[in-house]
């Protein structure tokens, strides 16, 4: 089940606007920084007049810095709660409940170890439909990450974990327009001496912000300058208006990536329509797909049954006929587990 959730105080270290209505908040909270696994979320109480707004707001953990006891969320102002969040300053306190939910299930490389597993939160550990081990060494195994808008948030943390496990990835990032691309600088980059590829696989902390918008990082196992032979981490940027990167939909780019073969699994987070299309492509190319879903939440713990998503199979593993709980059975699901036509 992963680490038990705890309600505790987080101190705002930084709350920076990174685009129109997009903010990145860095929070100090040792427990979440240490325990969160990729795909999990925190349930944040909005500070304001007492009990107004009433409910907590869920946000994906976007990155953790265990050594600093800090974590990041990336959020878009869409309503009252997020607007209030955007006014917070360093030193302000937030009540956060987490880490919550079931995260992404990771590939294991080379048959051995559990390096690539998302730890005790993994469904594999419960004998679920783990995708098991694939490939034999770094550079050959690849997964695809597909982000629509702020859906990039949980995938950033996932990309770091994948990278550390020695698996390569193609990260397809889409937004309506270039200015709405947030968090690109947080994606790990291989240390191959290229100026664009600062980060380092040995350093799980986010790389210092750099300009990578529209950049195509080198493909698989590049051994440029320093002879780097680590896993591939390729970033493809797609905007609907063509202002940065390729013009079109993120799923257009994904189709090409999947058509190229070699993709063992695809992970997606973004708007409902995008997730449906990713699931469809996954089926067409026989690539298993995991999606991170959103739903209105009250408890965030699995108790109130308010965050229901329709299950694809009538009888699910969790034994909850008909519906699954996004907060506790998810937010990450295998695409075939849920009825994606019913979401959004």
């Amino acid at each position: 089940m992963g680490s038990a959730p705890a309600a505790s105080t987080a101190i705002v270290l930084e709350n920076r606007q990174v685009g129109p209505g997009c903010y990145r908040m860095r929070l100090e909270n040792e427990y979440i920084a240490r325990c969160a696994v990729p795909g999990q979320f925190v349930h944040v109480r909005i500070p304001g007049p007492p009990l107004d707004p009433l409910l907590r707001r869920p946000f994906s953990v976007c990155q953790v810095e265990p050594s600093h006891g800090a974590f990041l969320i990336l959020y878009q102002v869409v309503g009252r709660g997020t607007r209030m969040l955007s006014t917070l300053r360093p030193g302000d306190k937030l009540d956060v409940l987490g880490p919550l939910g079931r995260g992404f299930e990771m590939l294991r490389v080379g048959g051995g170890g559990n390096e690539g597993s998302v730890g005790n939160n993994s469904r594999e550990s419960e004998g679920g439909n783990g995708i098991g081990s694939v490939g034999s060494g770094s550079g050959t195994v690849k997964v695809a990450l597909v982000a629509g808008g702020l859906g990039i948030a949980p995938l950033i943390m996932l990309s770091h974990a994948i990278f550390r496990s020695g698996v390569g990835f193609v990260f397809v990032v889409g937004a309506r327009s270039g200015e709405l691309l947030a968090g690109l600088d947080l994606i790990p980059r291989a240390s191959c001496g290229n100026a664009l590829l600062s980060g380092c696989p040995a350093n799980p902390e986010p790389a210092s912000p750099g300009i990578v918008q529209g950049a195509h990082l080198p493909p698989s196992g590049c051994d440029m300058a320093t002879g780097y032979t680590g896993p591939c981490c390729e970033v493809q940027v797609v905007t609907e208006d063509g202002s940065v990167g390729r013009r079109g939909l993120v799923t257009d780019a994904l189709r090409d990536v999947l058509a190229g073969g070699d993709i063992a699994c695809a992970y997606a987070c973004g708007p409902a329509g995008m997730l449906r299309e990713v699931a469809r492509l996954g089926e067409a190319f026989h690539v298993p797909v995991q999606v991170s879903l959103e739903a209105r939440m009250a408890c965030g713990l699995g108790a109130c049954l308010g965050c229901a998503v329709k299950a694809r199979e009538a009888a699910t593993r969790s034994g909850r006929a008909g519906y699954l709980r996004v907060c506790a059975d998810g937010p990450v699901f295998w695409a075939e587990e849920v009825d994606l036509d019913g979401i959004g």
Binding site: P5, L54, A298, G302, A303, A308, A321
Partner: protein, 344 residues
């Protein structure tokens, strides 16, 4: 001074403090037990149980309102057999009184549920949710008139030796009448209130938010209304009243005790702070100790002593309800159509 005595008794249930977790907001304890030691509660009221498993309503199931929450969960639950098999033994192990909330759509179903639970280990009491629609009354909730509340209470009383609590709906002309009907039917206590029926409209999509149109309103928004209901019910009956509605803080809980409640239950408050119940227990303790009040029971109804004629309470001598024991089957409205009922 000596530490305050928080213990209260509801029927045959001895609670170490007057604070319960309200039905439907606390699941079967499992999720909250990961956050805090739930053995500190006065009692746990389970999610509503029905004879057969129920899948619940399609999403969305939640809608935040100013200081309130509308829900339309639709009584999603695994059914009584699975409850007894999978949940009751674990619940019993917490060492806290367990009250099972039951919902049926006919007298027969309520009786069958009560019989099934009669020998279940670890079940200390039943809370009869009369807000659910009665299929023999055109789908009108049992709660809607004293006569059907009386019948359902009397029927369940005949088959159960456990503590019997009737959970009253506030969506009635006068709660004093339904409270008295429950008392005459043999209830050991009444709980007030269940959610207030409301509607949310989605102005973007030009349609109601919930598939069943009506949903149940809870949270701080209903607190003044619930206090009135408790005041009126407590004035009309001799059995204990469990006060419910918008309790988030110790202050709120104390107000309910002063208005005549012998115990309280916390629902939506658990979503705001998962440890709300604990905070309320501790807050009541300090309130008593600071004022040198010996016991929580000393608070019950204290505010009433200061109410004049204008207080609107039904005076103790006025009997609002007398059971008619009519034998005609059509003593209930026979209108057709399915209920949108405030079942959660």
């Amino acid at each position: 001074m000596a530490s305050a005595d928080l213990a209260v008794t509801i029927g045959a249930i001895k609670m170490k403090n007057p604070v319960m977790a309200a039905s439907g907001t606390f699941g079967f304890g499992r999720e909250f037990d990961r956050v805090f030691d739930i053995s500190a509660l006065g009692a746990i009221v389970t999610k509503g149980i029905t004879l057969k498993p129920r899948a619940g309503n399609p999403p969305p199931r939640l809608w935040e309102t100013p200081c309130g929450l509308l829900n339309s969960v639709g009584l999603q639950n695994p059914g009584v057999a699975a409850f007894i098999r999978d949940e009751a033994p674990r619940l019993a192990a917490y060492g806290v009184p367990v009250i099972v909330n039951i919902s049926g759509d006919s007298l027969a179903e309520f009786c069958e549920l009560a019989s099934c639970l009669e020998d279940a280990p670890g079940v200390d009491g039943l809370e009869v949710n009369v807000s659910c629609p009665n299929i023999h009354a055109g789908g009108r909730p049992f709660a809607s008139d004293p006569e059907s509340v009386y019948r359902v209470t009397a029927a369940v009383r005949r088959v159960t030796g456990k503590t019997l609590i009737v959970k009253l709906s506030p969506n009635v002309a006068g709660i004093a009448g339904t409270a008295q009907a429950a008392e005459m039917g043999g209830a050991d206590a009444v709980s007030c209130v269940n959610t207030y029926l409301g509607i949310a409209i989605d102005s973007e999509r030009i349609r109601p938010v919930f598939s069943r149109v009506f949903a149940g309103l809870s949270g701080p928004a209903i607190k003044p209304l619930a206090l009135r209901a408790v005041w009126e019910a407590a004035s009309a009956v001799r059995i204990p009243v469990v006060g419910i509605g918008g309790i988030c803080s110790p202050q709120d809980a104390i107000e309910f005790l002063l208005a005549g409640a012998s115990a309280v239950a916390i629902g939506t408050g658990n979503f705001i702070s998962p440890v709300a119940c604990l905070e309320v227990v501790e807050g009541i303790r300090s309130y008593l100790e600071e004022r040198g009040i010996r016991a929580a029971t000393d608070l019950v109804g204290l505010a009433k002593g200061h109410a004049g004629h204008a207080a609107g309470s039904h005076s103790d001598e006025a009997c609002v309800y007398e059971p008619k024991e009519r034998k005609a089957k059509d003593d209930f409205a026979t209108g057709k159509g399915r209920s949108h009922g405030g079942e959660q």
